[in-house]
């Protein structure tokens, strides 16, 4: 088992290296120096305390969506609906933040809780359809993504329209924001917010649920073999719904971390890329909570450094998205790497 886990991490690392190589080739193709590009990319993410804060703030929603995807994966479910769950959570949190004038100690927890519930609800639908009607969760989550997209598209201009633009909501007040003055000051004006601590807490809680509780054991059993689990008396249908709800709740919190933490309003017509990046985070983190954490911070670094890189060189910021996308592809095709790896090992053994 331990061997197995090591191999997963090695494969993840190889996928990252290949992704970075692909990024380098892309930079070279467009006449840029990749070493310089990566230098500015990393510097842009880390060169000051403020930028470190921004990296962590960018990573925060990714930690949540990565956890969401990883948690569902452990139960044998593919939650491709993290983007929609994020939107649902973000819309709910923003709506609560804009509708009430309560003090921060009440308003902020209510908004976060609202995001959690909305996300869980958005995850419940695919979970229920899967357990009751055997509808594939990938298809239903995709539908739920676009239902969320169009809901935001019409609800925001209808009820929470900003003063100048039709395409985004009003800005939430300080009382509804996850940003707090002492933290912003500590990181000299960065975007970092309480969401990061929530995310760390979520990592700990999810690791605890998966490794130390009966629920986690049952969920994993269903993930390994649904029929065997049922034979052992585990109600797999119930576990599927619970797993999707927890997964959705995590993505919903990611929505809160993004829309009332990193940003302070919600825009229409945007499917949050963090939902799909979450799949990459989860694959890279080998579906383990702490693996997800570090993978998310790595992707956060790529995203937060890209602006600086773009300012210093001619490389467009989309290079970060290209690298992440290629990493997913290489993670999906890791069997190829695995085959080469095994062949190499055999060859080395033969050489001895």
């Amino acid at each position: 088992m331990k061997m197995e886990l090591n191999k997963e991490y090695v494969l993840a690392l190889i996928a990252v290296v290949l992704g970075l190589l692909a990024g380098a080739i892309l930079m070279m193709l467009t006449g840029n120096n990749p070493l310089q590009g990566y230098y500015f990319l990393i510097r842009g993410g880390l060169m000051s305390i403020e930028r470190v804060g921004n990296t962590l703030a960018t990573a925060t929603p990714l930690i949540f969506t990565g956890l969401a995807v990883a948690f569902a994966f452990r139960t044998g479910l593919f939650n491709i609906g993290a983007a929609g769950q994020m939107l649902a959570g973000g819309l709910c949190a923003t709506a609560i933040g804009l509708s009430f004038a309560w003090p921060k100690v009440i308003l902020l927890p209510t908004a976060v809780l609202g995001a959690l519930i909305a996300g869980a609800l958005w995850g419940f639908v695919p979970g229920y359809l899967k357990s009751r009607f055997n509808v594939h969760e990938v298809v239903s989550s995709i539908m739920m993504n676009w239902i969320a997209y169009w809901t935001v598209y019409y609800v925001v201009p209808g009820y929470f329209k900003g003063p100048y633009l039709e395409t985004e909501s009003r800005k939430i007040t300080e009382a509804a924001s996850l940003k707090v003055a002492w933290l912003t000051k500590m990181f000299s004006g960065s975007y970092i917010n309480l969401g990061f601590f929530l995310a760390v807490l979520a990592v700990i809680v999810i690791a605890f649920i998966l490794n130390k509780t009966t629920l986690g054991y049952e969920l994993k059993a269903v993930g390994f073999n649904r029929h065997a689990a049922e034979y052992a008396g585990i109600r797999s249908n119930r576990n599927i719904v619970i797993s999707m709800m927890i997964s959705g709740a995590l993505a919903g919190l990611g929505g809160a971390a993004f829309y009332i933490g990193y940003a302070s309003n919600i825009q229409i017509g945007v499917m949050p890329s963090q939902g799909f990046d979450g799949i990459a985070v989860s694959l890279l983190g080998a579906n383990s909570p702490w693996g997800v954490f570090f993978a998310a911070v790595f992707f956060g670094l790529l995203h937060s450094g890209k602006g600086f890189m773009n300012a210093m060189t001619n490389i467009p910021p989309e290079i970060a998205d290209s690298i992440i996308a290629t990493i997913i592809y290489f993670a999906a095709t890791s069997i190829l790497i695995e085959r080469c790896w095994d062949r190499l090992k055999k060859y080395l053994r033969g050489a001895k």
Binding site: T30, I142, W146, E318, S322, I328, Y329, A331
Partner: protein, 315 residues
């Protein structure tokens, strides 16, 4: 009422056609047993490659540039879909992850390249496709006004492809083999069908069709590349399911969805439609697809082996 329908109809058709061709692509891929949720990305690839082609050619030959663009888009889509085919067929990768990767790679790399060319990442074309009224046929009462007035040539191209697709899938040996690979690849293999080859061809067809779909968006109603097709690829997947994986079903489903979206888009200009909340029209395709999935959960027409890699050693 009639006049409004006549007015809206060309827009609805224009919106339906890219959806139809993309969903048809998905049909080929899924009927051969490979789930392709990368249609969205493949559309973006087609949109991008046709935009680049047309921008560079339209100075010399404005008329033909559009057609060259469509051709290039189909080829680019087919080539790009090889990534998906290789992952799913040779490497037995998770088809959903691979499809997601296709979507993300397409979205990121095309904008990356476009920014290197134009700076803003948007590419505008000057000459799109021209709407034409077909002589004689447009004089037929009722349908002449609806179907043969102010049409794009691409509409007829796509409808021809639809008929051809139906013929190939149901009336040829190749089509039978392709469907067999999606239902029971082991049985197809033991009957001497090269499952891998058929699936490769099917995925490439889906790439070519989706690429064409993206290009049609460009030359008919959008006129610019901005790095996204705003979920049309996923709407095509919904239409594929709603149409129960059959060519004529897909035609009905895409038209139904296309009409609903068009009404939502024009509802501000047409008072009659303003009473229907846009949100309902826009989420309706997805909700109805969920309902259809539930209703047909016992007797689903989905290809049985869709989503499962074919492993020769497994019987």
């Amino acid at each position: 009422m009639w006049e409004i329908i006549v007015q809206v109809f060309p827009y609805a058709i224009a919106f339906t056609i890219p959806l139809l061709i993309t969903a048809l692509g998905g049909l080929f891929s899924e009927r051969s047993g490979v789930v392709n949720i990368g249609l969205e990305g493949l559309m973006v690839v087609g949109l991008f490659s046709s935009a680049i082609t047309i921008v560079n050619l339209e100075k010399f030959m404005p008329g033909t540039a559009v057609w060259v663009g469509l051709l290039v888009a189909a080829i680019a889509g087919a080539l790009f879909s090889l990534l998906h085919a290789f992952a799913c067929i040779n490497l037995h990768a998770n088809q959903v992850i691979s499809g997601t990767a296709i979507n993300m790679i397409a979205g990121a790399i095309t904008v990356y390249l476009a920014r290197n060319i134009t700076g803003s990442g948007n590419i505008h074309i000057v000459h799109g496709m021209v709407r034409r009224t077909i002589p004689v046929l447009s004089d037929i009462p009722v349908i002449g006004k609806l179907l043969f007035t102010q049409t794009y040539a691409t509409t007829w191209l796509v409808l021809a492809i639809l008929v051809l697709s139906w013929f190939v899938l149901y009336k040829t040996a190749f089509g039978l083999r392709l469907r067999a690979c999606g239902e029971h690849p082991q049985a197809a293999d033991s009957a001497g069908v090269n499952v891998y080859r058929i699936r490769y061809i099917a995925v490439m067809i889906s790439g070519a069709f989706a690429g064409l779909g993206g290009a049609i968006i460009l030359v008919t109603y959008s006129g610019e590349f901005s790095g996204t097709v705003a979920g049309l690829g996923f709407l095509a997947i919904a239409a594929l399911i709603f149409g129960q994986w059959k060519p004529w079903g897909v035609l009905g489903a895409t038209f139904f969805f296309g009409f609903a979206s068009t009404i939502a888009n024009v509802s501000q200009a047409v008072p009659l439609f303003a009473r229907i909340p846009g949100i309902l029209l826009k989420i309706f395709p997805y909700v109805i697809t969920l309902i259809v999935l539930v209703m047909f959960s016992k007797s689903s027409q989905a290809p049985r082996a869709a989503g499962e890699p074919y492993d020769k050693g497994k019987r």
